[in-house]
């Protein structure tokens, strides 16, 4: 008899099943570990994109179980859990919220935003629902521990590491409860244990505050450093964060640490050291390469080097094409209207402001651009001119980028601030004000007034040296202290020869305009440059005496030194020693920022590269200067 219908059907089904097994096998075969490209298509793709579990983070059996048991409806399960989490939050059921959040991460362990969102939820939203500051602290650290687990499960997520560092710093150190949080953190030994277990150094000098206990800002910075290692050395790309701000936070945390310990009354050499470290960190940050939106990378600290370079390039270009430029200028002036030409003829001192504005616009019209000049240059120099013009263009673009990025992070301000705060003058002034405030609180008015008056003298000097600091947060509290002083001396007005009259006036008059701030910065730079020159002269004399005493052994050096003097030299200073009070080397990065003017105001090739070590320039300049 022929095969019955049922049997045939079954055989057909069996055959189809076996056939379908083949593509399944090709796709889904796991790695056999023997060769490079073992395993099916999917396994290989997982390898290529580095998204297999072992690549992304540790393999968590609970997570795998939960994902499998959702039978393909992981998204549905996750949505239900998110809903439940929100319900728990509305009902103030905090432990169930925490349990649900843990379960969410079992389902979605590699979705970075989940970790960030819920950690933020816990640290910033849930923590504020509590009345007791210790419970708030527990929830803030609950959020950071949550993030820590996220970091463990996502080995290639620098953003998560950065966020952890951010929370340790900003949430513990900037919230209203910062004093209490910082104190709790310093004493939270079980937490330190857990952080240690993650490989973060909690016991080294870099993480300890002046009381030899871990400081939240510094521990946060350790986290950030780990992130920086991952991106710089590990080559993992930074996603969803601008590199400029990503790398800024580490040094910023050092600055915030110094500010914090001074607020808490630590106003001794420990504070100075903290500011020194902060200044070093900030300058190192300026020396690191930062990718930009343009095709080149920049360093924030290279502005002066670039300024020098463009001056030189400009000089070289002018030498080559000066005549052509003048010619072109004359041509363009010919094309102006009579009234415009008349404007140009008026000397600068006699112009009104409006006329000056007009003249600036005219200058833009009549001044030919380097490329235009280069094209008009006669054939034999044309190629060189064009090359120079292109180089000048490039340098100008770089300067633009660097300047813009510096402004974004307010690089110069923080550099100046860190430098100023390091000085004993500043620490002394702060200490006096702090002690005076404490005496005032204890109603010892006479002593308080004495200390206040001493302090005002010092502050006046600081503002003379650093006019930039008049309008900034470092002197915000000063206004409060001045008010207390006024109450203590029981008078509405300040005495006539009050040293801080100018400061008070400036502050009372309200916010400054950007132009005023610019002017302040110029003034600051000039001051710093003057002081710099004085220091250089002092140093020069000393060195001269030394070299004379040593006689002709030094003779071959000048030529070398002259060469080196001509080269731009941007790579030093930051790592050199910074003994307390030596303004010269410390101020150089700050003062050099608008470095275009320093060559202009001093004779070229003399002191323009002021950060060069005196030993190099001294012999050559000495002869010229004297």
């Amino acid at each position: 008899m022929n095969l019955s219908h049922g049997l045939v059907n079954k055989l057909v089904y069996l055959a189809i099943l076996i056939l379908m097994l083949i593509p399944l096998f090709l796709l889904g075969q796991p790695e056999s570990g023997t060769s490079e490209r073992s395993g099916g298509q999917l396994t290989q793709m997982r390898d290529d994109f580095e998204i297999s579990e072992a690549d992304l983070g540790e393999i968590n059996p609970a997570s795998e179980t939960m994902k499998l048991s959702s039978l393909g409806m992981r998204g549905v399960a996750a949505s239900i859990l998110w809903n439940k989490a929100h319900d728990h939050k509305v009902h103030h059921e905090w432990d169930r919220l925490r349990a649900t959040l843990n379960n969410i991460t079992l389902l979605q362990p590699h979705f970075e935003k989940v970790w960030e969102f819920q950690a933020h939820n816990m640290s910033y939203n849930v923590s504020t629902e509590f009345d007791d500051y210790r419970q708030r602290y527990a929830w803030v650290t609950g959020g950071t521990e949550y993030l820590t687990e996220g970091v463990r499960q996502n080995r290639k997520a620098p953003t998560l590491i950065w966020t952890t560092g951010w929370y340790y710093g900003q949430k513990l150190g900037m919230s209203d409860e910062k004093r209490q949080f910082r104190r709790l953190f310093a004493e939270d030994q079980p937490l330190h244990e857990r952080i240690r277990a993650e490989g973060i150094d909690v016991d080294g000098n870099e993480s300890l505050g002046p009381d030899r206990k871990p400081d939240n800002w510094l521990v946060g910075r350790q986290w950030l450093k780990r992130g920086y290692q991952l991106t710089r050395e590990g080559g993992v790309p930074i996603r969803r964060k601008t590199p400029l701000h990503f790398y800024e936070t580490g040094p910023k945390w050092l600055i915030n640490h110094a500010v914090a310990i001074e607020e808490e009354g630590e106003l001794s050499s420990a504070a100075q050291r903290a500011w020194q470290t902060a200044s070093n960190g900030w300058i190192n940050y300026g020396e690191e390469t930062i990718p930009t939106t343009a095709e080149f990378t920049i360093r924030l600290g290279e502005i002066d080097e670039l300024a020098r370079r463009i001056t030189e390039q400009q000089a070289e270009f002018d030498e080559l094409t000066g005549a052509v430029r003048d010619e072109m200028r004359k041509e363009r002036i010919q094309q102006l209207t009579d009234s415009q030409r008349a404007l140009l003829d008026i000397p600068d001192e006699e112009r009104t402001d409006e006329q000056r504005g007009e003249v600036t616009k005219l200058e833009l019209l009549i001044t030919p651009k380097p490329m235009e000049i280069a094209k008009r240059v006669p054939a034999k120099d044309k190629l060189k001119a064009i090359e120079l013009a292109a180089a000048m263009n490039y340098t100008a673009r770089r300067i633009n980028k660097v300047d813009g990025y510096r402004q974004q992070v307010n690089y110069e301000y923080w550099g100046t601030r860190a430098l100023a705060e390091q000085t004993s003058l500043m620490v002394e002034a702060r200490r006096l004000v702090y002690e005076a405030d404490r005496l005032n609180e204890n109603a010892e008015l006479d002593k308080a007034i004495e200390k206040y008056e001493e302090a005002w003298g010092k502050w006046a000097q600081i503002f003379e040296n650093y006019p930039l600091l008049v309008f900034d947060a470092s002197s915000d509290d000063l206004m409060d202290s001045l008010k207390r002083y006024r109450t203590a001396i029981d008078s509405e007005e300040f005495p006539d020869d009050f040293p801080l009259d100018e400061f008070v006036e400036k502050r009372m008059s309200g916010a400054y305009s950007p132009d005023e701030y610019e002017a302040l910065r110029e003034k600051q730079r000039k001051l710093n440059a003057d002081q710099q020159r004085q220091q250089d002269l002092l140093n020069l004399d000393f060195r001269k005496m030394m070299s004379d005493a040593q006689g002709s052994v030094k003779a071959p050096e000048p030529t070398e030194a002259e060469e080196q003097a001509a080269e731009p030299d941007g790579a030093e200073t930051p790592s050199e020693s910074k003994p307390d009070g030596e303004m010269k080397q410390e101020e150089s990065p700050a003062e050099e920022s608008p470095a275009e003017e320093s060559p202009a105001e001093e004779s070229p090739a003399e002191e323009s590269p002021a950060e060069e070590s005196p030993a190099e320039e001294k012999p050559a300049e000495d002869s010229e200067a004297e």
């Binding site: 179980t65 103030h92 432990d95 925490r98 349990a99 379960n103 509590f130 009345d131 209203d176 409860e177």
Partner: protein, 638 residues
């Protein structure tokens, strides 16, 4: 858990609802029963008429009804019921339902992966996990075994072997239901015992020892006490105070951390501090009072200040039959009312039945308040409030006693029986029962907030007197009884559906009923918004359109006018019918909610269980009669 109005009714209040009879349970039950009977009869008649013609159909329906009351009900024999029950039991066991117990044990073993060890109140977490897991497993079990047995019999024609015996339809149905209930109970009891041990053992822990201890003078200045703290184990530590007795032994109790305390002792002459196991869990039996508020100017209001927290959902279900007849009411929810500090604002609780017999040593007042800081205030100090006792009749009032607010835990205050105060004329010491409790036995307690510009939140269910405690084991048993009742209900429904539907379809129908029970509050919510003409996303079809077009809930529906009308009309019809069905079905989330009581450490009061028993009995009877009817008519047809 925030108690809702229906949690405060006594059994008779729930049943009869004297001031809102339309919402009462008894009316709902009777109306639903009558409706079910009528609908059943009509459908029966129509079916019979379709088969046999109108007059024949009428007679067959009448015959079935007569059979029920004349023959079958009186003639139901317990022996036969028992036999059929045994049969159902054996059948279920043969279907390997004991696997459920296996799954439960496996779940318990791996619970540690999913339960957070660092939680603030592990007792609550463990108990609610265990109860929820049991609940869902048992419901699924009930679903499966009840829905498949009868249809299997019918398909295999083995039903005829039973039916040809002198067995009544009532006995078949009853036998099956009881058999399955027995299987469920046999599974539930060991699960309950296992849960009990899981919870108590899971919470058991030791502290390695004492971290630090020092001798300080006590409050009277005469003697000494020892204060210190234990080691940090299991993510917490305790502080403690030890007292020395005459023999030189030290004894004391730790503070409450993570919901438990330990007793610490040290024998005289020994160096070891013995830290005993955590004190056993108990269930509180609270005595609630009525609450009204005074606003900041001292005027009486019913609800306190709203601090702006997001409102919870639900609260419609207690409206009973009013929903069916079309009168929807607002959600009746209890939210936290806040009292402003530094003003005349207060929350005033009136407690009835305050007698000397109940409160022998002192009055234990338990508070579960919330603190809302409108400004940071003093960061390192908790918010403070005051407690004042008063007699509303005679005007006697005690001096204010200050306390600090401990949020998210139940705070215990012992109010002594003799307090300084003013009896209306002079300042003297007042006795609670003589001066402050009225003749009817009521006592008023007033809560105020001390810190200006801050707020204290309270509800009726969060401030109570605690006359006694019961054991945790008994409370857990009551929770399991509630699970057992849900199981009985689901089994009844399952058997009912299986009498006229195919096995899988019956299971699906039962599952749908369970699901509708869970979704009921959501459906009521949607209907409320449709009725009050608020645009909150609309019914099913409108929501589907909005989801597909990715529109928000509150914008106008982006279709032309005619389509909009049709959609809204259809939605209204759908929602109203779903509302009617959901109201007829048992309110399962409420029954599931008894786990909350156990988890939070509150006694599951008698009236609650009483309500569950009544509801289950009612639904069981309805299901029983429907099943009988279907089986009888089916018999005839087959």
């Amino acid at each position: 858990m925030t108690l809702q109005p229906e949690d405060f009714w006594s059994y008779s209040e729930w049943l009869l609802r004297p001031d809102a009879f339309l919402q009462s349970a008894i009316l709902q039950g009777i109306v639903l029963a009558i409706l079910a009977v009528l609908i059943g009869l009509i459908i029966g008649y129509l079916l019979a008429a379709a088969r046999k013609g109108p007059s024949e159909g009428f007679y067959s329906v009448a015959r079935v009804v007569r059979d029920l009351f004349v023959f079958d009900l009186p003639g139901t024999s317990p022996a036969r019921v028992y036999a059929l029950g045994r049969l159902a039991f054996k059948e279920a066991i043969r279907r390997r339902v004991l696997i459920v117990a296996g799954i439960f044990v496996v779940g318990l073993l791996f619970a540690g992966w999913y339960l957070n060890p660092n939680s603030d109140d592990p007792a609550r977490l463990y108990i609610s996990f265990v109860l929820t897991a049991t609940n869902y497993l048992i419901l699924m079990l009930a679903l499966f075994i009840s829905a498949f047995s009868l249809p299997a019999d019918i398909q295999n024609r083995t039903l005829y072997t039973i039916v040809t015996k002198p067995v009544r339809a009532t006995e078949i149905v009853l036998g099956r239901v009881l058999g399955f209930v027995a299987v469920g109970t046999c599974l539930l009891v060991p699960m309950g015992v296992a849960s009990y041990f899981f919870v108590t053992r899971g919470l058991q822990h030791d502290h390695a020892g004492i971290e630090e201890i020092e001798k300080v003078p006590d409050s009277s200045g005469q003697g000494f006490v020892y204060v210190g703290k234990t080691t940090y184990d299991r993510n917490h530590f305790h502080t403690f105070t030890l007292f020395e007795d005459e023999e030189g032994n030290l004894e004391g109790v730790t503070n409450i951390a993570r919901g438990h305390q330990h007793i610490i002792t040290r024998k005289q002459g020994s160096d070891d501090y013995v830290i005993e196991r955590p004190l056993p869990l108990t269930a509180r039996v609270p005595a609630y009072g009525d609450l009204y508020f005074l606003d900041r100017t001292g005027q009486r209001t019913e609800s306190g200040i709203d601090a702006g927290y997001e409102q919870r959902k639900g609260g419609y279900g207690s409206a009973g039959l009013e929903r069916l007849i079309g009168r929807t009411s607002e959600a009746k929810r209890i939210e936290f009312g806040y009292v402003e500090g530094g003003s005349l604002g207060a929350g005033i609780f009136t407690f009835p039945n305050v007698t000397e017999a109940k409160y022998v040593e002192d009055i234990p007042l338990q508070l579960n308040l919330r603190a809302y800081r409108a400004h940071k205030g003093k960061i390192d100090r908790k918010l403070r409030g005051t407690i004042t006792l008063r007699n509303p009749d005679s005007g006697a009032v005690t001096n204010a006693r200050t306390f600090e607010v401990n949020e998210y835990q139940v705070d215990d205050y012992r109010i002594p029986l003799v307090l300084p105060g003013n009896d209306g004329e002079n300042n003297r010491d007042l006795n609670v029962f003589e001066d402050l409790v009225t003749d009817e036995g009521t006592l008023q307690i007033e809560l105020r907030c001390l810190d200006r510009g801050q707020y204290l939140g309270m509800t009726k269910g969060d401030v109570f007197l605690k006359p006694q405690e019961t054991s945790f084991a008994w409370n857990l048993t009551k929770a399991y009884i509630s699970i057992w009742l849900q199981m009985v209900m689901v089994i009844s429904f399952g058997v009912m559906f299986s009498t006229f539907l195919n096995g899988s379809v019956a299971m699906l129908m039962t599952f749908v009923c369970v699901l509708l029970g869970f979704a009921a509050e959501g459906i009521y919510d949607v209907r409320h918004f449709i009725d009050s003409n608020q645009s909150m996303g609309g019914g099913p079809i409108e929501s589907l359109i909005r989801i597909a077009k990715q529109d928000a809930m509150t914008t106008e529906l982006d279709v032309d006018a005619l389509t909009s009308k049709v959609v809204k009309g259809a939605d209204t019809a759908i929602i109203y019918s779903m509302d009617a069905i959901a109201t007829s079905l048992p309110n399962l989330p409420k029954m599931l909610g008894t786990a909350e009581y156990a988890a939070s450490g509150f006694d599951i009061f008698g009236s609650l269980l009483g309500r569950h028993i009544t509801t289950t009995l009612a639904y069981f009877l309805v299901a029983f009669f429907v099943s009988y009817f279907c089986l009888k008519t089916r018999e005839i047809a087959a």
